[in-house]
Structures are given as structure tokens and as C-alpha cells.
């Protein structure tokens, strides 16, 4: 494929790609349990142990290894981010295409519903959904997916409308192609670029939203770890054990940085006119 090479050739793509790749590796290791220590094991005598050669990032209130929990947390946060963005992108694409393709009444209904969702403050909408369904990994995923669906719907509907008006779709239609063929073949292909960029950026937001939800105690449930939950738990230990806040804080910043860099690179690659502009 040309894509990886293009990303690699782009300076921020290189850095962003490296960061995201590293996190993916950590996430997979974390999810498989291949961590330096058992992330759930409570080493009672080593409670709130400062970082050293045994515990690279120290231990928490329970004597659990922070480095291992960080890997587990990255796994958890990424799982939530990936699934929620995947669902939002899927729902947004289907709704956006439906709105653009069927037009008129459908368009009106879909876009008004999206307006309703957009008019809610994001964190409040997520908060309400979690409050209704009860906290947990899947609730967080669904809540964040619903919050970001309108954005994807808009991203898809706009280009889909203008593509629909263009000749090649008309041409395909006169040649007797079925609607579903036209939809998938022509429209979707042309939507790959804006969608990919949007997905990368949405992953960064999803990580932040998950952290925010966990910070309010409505996200990941203990004893599992997520970056937001680790930060939230460290809040009142900031002075006693600063490492509890520093490492998850840095981890969350760097991961978002990675996705932002990668998103910028992708935008440049897909849209050469903007190349020099945003790099």
C-alpha cells in the first residue's frame, strides 16, 4: 500500500504514527496481560512506593504496579475510544448517506435529530446516557458513540450531497447501476479521505471524553484501570504520591498528541493543496 509510505514520508505523520503504533503495542500487551507485574495484584507492603527499579512508575494506594496498570489503562481507554469511534463513524456514515441520498423528508428528519444531539453539551449528553444505563465499559462506548454520531453524519452528508449532484453518479445511473452499487462504489470511495481524517481526530476526542467520564466516576469500573480513572484516583494523592498523576497525565497527553499529529498528516496526504499549510 502507498498509505503507510506516505505517512512515513510526512514529518508529523512519522512522529504521530510512531506514537500511535507504540500505544497500540502497549494496549495489546496490556489487554493480553503481558505487563511487568499483574496490574491487579496488591502488594500490600509496598503501598504508595515511589518509582524504582522494581516498580518503574511506583505503586498506588493498594500497592499495585502503576506501570502495569498504565498498560492496562491504555488498553482499556483505547478499546473504548476505538469502539465508540467505530460505532459513531458507522452510524454517521449510514445516516449521512441516507440523508443525502433519499433527500427531502429523510434528510430533514435525520438532520433535525442530529441537531438535537448536537445542541446538547457533549459531556452532559454522555453523562445522562451513562446515568440512565449505569456505568461500565459498554455504556461508555455507546455514550461516546452517540455524542459523536452527529459530527460524522455531517461530515458524510456534505460531500455526499455534492457528489450526488455530480455527473459521474448520473452517468452511472443512466448505465443502470443499482443505487446500492452507486452508493458504495462511488460515494463511499470519495468519502474515504474526509472520514479517515475525522476518525483520527475523533479518536483523540474520544480519549478525552472517556477520561472526563471516568474522572466523574462514570466510566471504567475498578479494579480495572483506564487513563481517566487513574488520573481521577490520583487527585487527592497528588502531594503524597505525585507519580500517580504524572504518568497517567503524560500518557493521556502523548496519546492525544499522537492522534492529532497523525490526523494532520492524513489531512495533508489526502488534500495536497493544504499540504504546506497545516503540516
Amino acid at each position: 500500500m502507498r498509505m503507510p509510505r506516505a505517512i512515513f514520508a510526512h514529518p508529523s505523520g512519522r512522529i504521530g504514527g510512531f506514537i500511535v503504533g507504540l500505544y497500540l503495542l502497549l494496549a495489546v500487551l496490556g489487554l493480553l496481560g503481558l505487563t511487568p507485574h499483574d496490574p491487579l495484584m496488591q502488594y500490600r507492603i509496598d503501598r504508595l512506593h515511589a518509582p524504582d527499579s522494581t516498580y518503574w512508575m511506583g505503586t498506588d494506594l493498594f500497592g499495585r504496579d502503576v506501570a502495569s496498570r498504565l498498560m492496562m489503562g491504555i488498553g482499556q481507554s483505547f478499546t473504548v475510544a476505538f469502539f465508540s469511534v467505530a460505532f459513531a463513524a458507522l452510524a454517521g456514515t449510514v445516516l449521512g448517506l441516507a440523508a443525502a441520498w433519499f433527500g427531502r423528508r429523510w434528510d430533514g428528519i435525520v438532520m433535525r435529530v442530529m441537531d438535537v444531539l448536537l445542541a446538547f453539551p457533549a459531556i452532559l449528553l454522555a453523562l445522562l446516557i451513562v446515568a440512565v444505563a449505569g456505568p461500565g465499559t459498554w455504556t461508555s462506548i455507546v455514550a461516546i458513540a452517540i455524542v459523536y454520531t452527529p459530527i460524522f453524519t455531517r461530515v458524510v452528508r456534505g460531500p455526499a450531497l455534492s457528489l450526488k449532484a455530480r455527473e459521474f453518479v448520473d452517468a452511472a445511473r443512466t448505465f443502470g447501476s443499482s443505487s446500492s452499487y452507486i452508493l458504495t462504489r462511488h460515494l463511499l470511495l470519495n468519502l474515504v479521505a474526509p472520514l479517515t481524517v475525522q476518525i483520527t481526530l475523533a479518536l483523540a476526542w474520544a480519549l478525552l471524553t472517556e477520561a472526563g467520564l471516568s474522572f466523574l466516576g462514570l466510566g471504567t469500573q475498578p479494579p480495572a484501570a483506564s487513563l481517566g480513572l487513574m488520573l481521577s484516583d490520583s487527585r487527592n494523592l497528588m502531594e503524597t504520591a505525585p507519580w500517580l498523576m504524572i504518568f497517567p497525565g503524560l500518557a493521556i497527553m502523548i496519546s492525544i498528541l499522537g492522534f492529532n499529529l497523525l490526523g494532520d498528516a492524513l489531512r495533508d496526504i489526502f488534500d495536497p493543496r493544504m499540504r504546506r499549510a497545516i503540516a
Binding site: 500490600r44 493498594f62 449505569g134 456505568p135 461500565g136 469500573q221 475498578p222 479494579p223 487527592n236
Partner: protein, 512 residues
């Protein structure tokens, strides 16, 4: 237009930096223009002003400064006068007579009379009021007011604990006129040391001294209470001398207070207890041996050390110091994993089982930590716990329905064991559907304790009650923690008490 705007923006760029420094500089000066005002902070605000309806911790703490009950309990949990000067049980224990303090006055200037007392208790007993404390006063058959300074309660049965229940601000005396006007709860007119001048919910309260208070002059002219939702921020505000006095909940924050030379931490063991409630109506907690195994598998000291940094004391069911027995004498208070495993296999659960434990986020702040320590301890006998932390109201809803396998809770204590536990451990208890366990022994011990007037005999009855309760293990009592208040060192005269009341703020002074 746009160009103009930009130029303005650019020229203004250097300014914010300087302005910031100036503003922070001015803000660093402590605000003590009126030194006789106590600046206080807490993280959770009161939820309302009707003393008969409010049960939230902060509501009670606020209302205790404004309203007065007939009697109060002091730091040693002894009953002392408030509105009533003296009181007397009749020989058969079915008549309770109060003599009111003639100086007692409401903040609207009217004297507190026996008619107000009668109207207040009738309001509590009226189902339309929705007073939770009503359950404690059901033995009141009628109320007589032979003269304005005398009230006689006629009881349907001997009821010693009713006096303790009357010391609660939930049994505060409000003006009969306000009851008739239906304005209790919208206007706060009590007979206590402070008047409420302003209440901005979830933001602040302004209290001023009640010059006519029968208890004498207050030490400060007023109290301003700020709601700072984040306890780390409360500590920060105390370090910069903006706050004189604060209520803290989280031991992780409270233990940082003594590190600051100008701050003092007051801690007092409280009657409330941290507990793991089992639900004996759900399998396999229906089995006595399973419940006992859980009790034996839990290291209470370890839960306390980890979740609360050791800030507290392991406790049995009774938390009242004068009645509590030494916890080490109770069933399985020394961890015994072997015994636990044996009990599990005798009950037919040698391979363990799975269950869900619920807890409220931040209520108490240690809930999530307690759940996690217990989870890892119970894993050793094959009990696999799934933790569900919920928003407080969602938790309360599930808790009231008894819809849980196990629940982490911090339950309130009372100065009398009967008032504290009759809701759970009597056959007619209102919260039987939460406790889901009762036997004849517990019920009869509670009834005997209620009627017994001799303190020594009462103590013996409740000691047996405690021993039995720990043995049948419907719940696993863990520990009692401290109630924390933090203050600047120039604040004098605060007396912390096991009920958590801030009533002694009425005599607190600010030294220069």
C-alpha cells in the same frame, strides 16, 4: 473593522501577563476585614432548610446552628439541656415531662412555648409532612401542655431511647405560627445561636449571630460557609488563609493538613460505621456458613489501613464507646482464611461463587478503595466479586429496594443502639427489606433494650446483641472512621463530637 480589532488584540497581548501578576498579588492578601466572621468551607452543601425533612449530613450540620431540639447530646454523648431545662420519666417509663427554658426565644422574637413543642411533634407525626424521623416517635400517644413552660409526652409503651431521638435536629422545635402558615422550610426561623441571612444553594450560606440566643453570646459575629466541591481546593484555600475552618471527608486530604504548620486537624471517632452489607435473601448468602466464611476471610485492619490510611478503628456492630465490646472478642475478628475455606466447603461452596458488590461514587470517598481491598481478600477463598460503583442516588435507589448481593456502605450511627438499629434488626423495622435478616433473638434483645431503664442491665443486653449479630454475620462491620475538621491555629474553642455536630461553633472565637 477586522484590522482594527486585530491591532487591538495585538497591543493588548503583553498586558494580561502583568495584570495576572497584579491580580494574583491582591488575591493573596487574606480577606479578614471583619475578623469576627468565621470563613468556613465544605464540599457538599445542605439540601434544604426544613429541619424535619432534611437528613443529609451537611443539612443537619447547618440546621443545628439555626434550630434547637428539646435536648442535645454533648461530646461524651450525655443528654444535656437545649430548649428544655430539665426532663423526667415517670416510674412506669410511659410519661416524659419537659420543663422549657423560660429565656428560649425564636429568631422572630416570640418565646418558645409548650404550644410550639406540641405543634412541632404533631407536624413530625403527620404523614403529610414526610418526616423520616417520624419512625422514632411512633410511641407518642398524646402530648399535654399544662402550662406554657411544661410539656408532657404520653407514651403507648416504655421507650427510653426516645429521649436520644429527641436530641436530633430532626426533632427541632419550630414556631407553631410558621407551621400553620406552611412556611417551615422556606423561612428558617429557629431558636439557635445563628440566623440564616442568605442561602445560595451549592454556593454559599451567610449566618449572623442571634443576639437573643438563650445560650448566651456567640464567639463570632457571623459565619460564612462556602461550598468548594473539590477537597484538594479546600486545602489549598486554607493554606492561603482564605478559609478559617473546614469540614473534610476524605482521609487522603485530611492527613495532609497537619503538614502545614499554621493548620490544625481535629479528628474525632464517629458513630457511623463502614460496613460490607451482605444480602442474606440472595444465594448463597442465605447460608449462615457462607456469611461466616466471608467474615473470617476479611482482614478488617487491612481494609482500614489501605482505604483510609489507617485512620479509624476496627469496630463491631456497636459503635457507641460506652456500650461497645472489645472487637477482638467478636466472631472471627482475627482473619482466619483456613477456617473460612472450611466453612465454605461445609456450606457446599468449596469452589467459591461470584457476586456483585455495589458502592456509591465518593460516598464515602473510601468506598471504591474498600471494595477493591475486599475483592482481593475474598478472592483468596474463591469468592469472585464484581464491583459496581454508582452515582449516589442510583445507589440509594438500589439499596432501598434491597437490590444487591453485597453493598459497601457508610451507615450513620446514633447515640442510642435502639434508635440506631431498630430499623434493621427488629421484626417491624422499616428497613427489614434492606437488611433481609432477622431472628427471634435479635428482635427480643432489641425490645428488652428499649424498655430497660437501668444502664448496667442495658449494657449487658446490648453486649449480647452485638455478640449475636457478629456471629450470624448478616453484615460484615468493618471500622469506624474519624470526622475531620481543619482549622487555622488562631481559631479557639471548637469541640469535635462523635455525632459530627458543629454546634460548638457557637462558642468559637478568632484570636488576633
Amino acid at each position: 473593522m477586522v484590522q482594527h480589532l486585530t491591532r487591538k488584540l495585538l497591543s493588548g497581548m503583553a498586558l494580561p501577563g502583568i495584570a495576572l501578576a497584579v491580580m494574583l498579588g491582591t488575591a493573596a492578601v487574606p480577606i479578614q476585614a471583619n475578623a469576627a466572621t468565621l470563613h468556613m468551607a465544605w464540599s457538599q452543601d445542605a439540601t434544604g432548610l426544613d429541619p424535619h425533612k432534611q437528613t443529609a449530613f451537611s443539612s443537619l450540620r447547618l440546621l443545628e446552628l439555626i434550630y434547637e431540639p428539646l435536648v442535645r447530646v454533648d461530646a461524651n454523648l450525655r443528654i444535656v439541656p437545649a430548649i428544655a431545662d430539665s426532663w423526667q420519666f415517670s416510674a412506669d417509663g410511659k410519661e416524659l415531662t419537659f420543663k422549657l427554658n423560660p429565656k428560649a426565644k425564636f429568631q422572630n422574637g416570640a418565646a418558645v412555648t409548650s404550644a410550639d413543642v406540641k405543634a412541632s411533634f404533631e407536624r413530625i407525626l403527620d404523614e403529610k409532612t414526610g418526616a423520616a424521623a417520624r419512625a422514632n416517635f411512633l410511641s407518642i400517644a398524646s402530648i399535654d401542655t399544662p402550662d406554657p413552660a411544661t410539656v408532657v409526652f404520653h407514651l403507648s409503651q416504655p421507650d427510653v431511647p426516645i429521649l436520644t431521638a429527641m436530641s436530633d435536629v430532626n426533632a427541632a422545635i419550630v414556631p407553631a405560627g410558621e407551621i400553620a402558615a406552611g412556611s417551615v422550610g422556606t423561612k428558617a426561623i429557629g431558636s439557635g445561636p445563628f440566623k440564616l441571612d442568605k442561602w445560595d444553594p451549592n454556593a454559599k450560606e451567610v449566618l449572623s449571630a442571634n443576639k437573643d440566643w438563650a445560650g448566651g453570646a456567640t464567639g463570632v459575629d457571623g459565619i460564612e460557609i462556602s461550598v468548594l466541591p473539590d477537597e484538594t481546593a479546600i486545602l489549598a484555600a486554607m493554606r492561603t488563609k482564605q478559609i478559617d475552618f473546614a469540614l473534610l471527608n476524605d482521609p487522603l486530604v485530611a492527613t495532609l493538613v497537619p503538614k502545614d504548620a499554621s493548620l490544625q486537624l481535629n479528628r474525632v471517632p464517629v458513630l457511623a460505621y463502614h460496613v460490607l452489607q451482605l444480602n442474606p435473601s440472595r444465594k448463597p448468602m442465605t447460608e449462615l456458613k457462607v456469611r461466616q466464611a466471608i467474615s473470617c476471610a476479611i482482614d478488617r485492619q487491612d481494609v482500614l489501613d489501605t482505604a483510609s490510611l489507617g485512620e479509624g478503628k476496627v469496630t463491631g456492630p456497636l459503635t457507641i464507646p460506652s456500650l461497645a465490646t472489645d472487637p477482638s472478642q467478636l466472631f472471627c475478628y482475627k482473619r482466619d482464611v483456613e477456617k473460612a475455606k472450611q466453612l465454605m466447603s461445609e456450606a457446599g461452596y468449596a469452589d467459591g461463587f461470584s457476586a456483585t458488590v455495589i458502592g456509591a461514587t465518593g460516598e464515602p470517598p473510601t468506598a471504591a478503595a474498600e471494595a477493591q481491598v475486599i475483592q482481593s481478600q475474598l478472592a483468596e477463598i474463591g469468592v469472585k466479586l464484581d464491583i459496581k460503583m454508582m452515582e449516589l442516588n442510583v445507589y440509594v435507589d438500589a439499596w432501598l429496594k434491597g437490590d444487591f448481593d453485597m453493598a459497601i456502605a457508610l451507615n450513620g450511627g446514633r447515640a442510642d443502639p435502639y434508635t440506631m438499629y431498630n430499623r434493621y434488626w427488629t421484626k417491624a423495622g422499616n428497613l427489614q427489606k434492606v437488611a433481609n435478616y432477622i431472628d427471634d433473638t435479635l428482635d427480643s434483645q432489641m425490645q428488652q433494650g428499649r424498655a430497660e431503664t437501668d444502664p448496667a442491665k442495658r449494657k449487658a443486653i446490648f453486649a449480647e446483641f452485638e455478640k449475636h449479630l457478629a456471629e450470624v454475620s448478616p453484615w460484615i462491620w468493618l471500622y469506624t472512621s474519624y470526622s475531620y475538621t481543619a482549622q487555622q491555629k488562631n481559631i479557639a474553642g471548637f469541640v469535635p463530637t462523635p455525632t459530627g455536630t458543629l454546634f460548638s461553633l457557637s462558642k468559637v472565637t478568632i484570636q488576633q
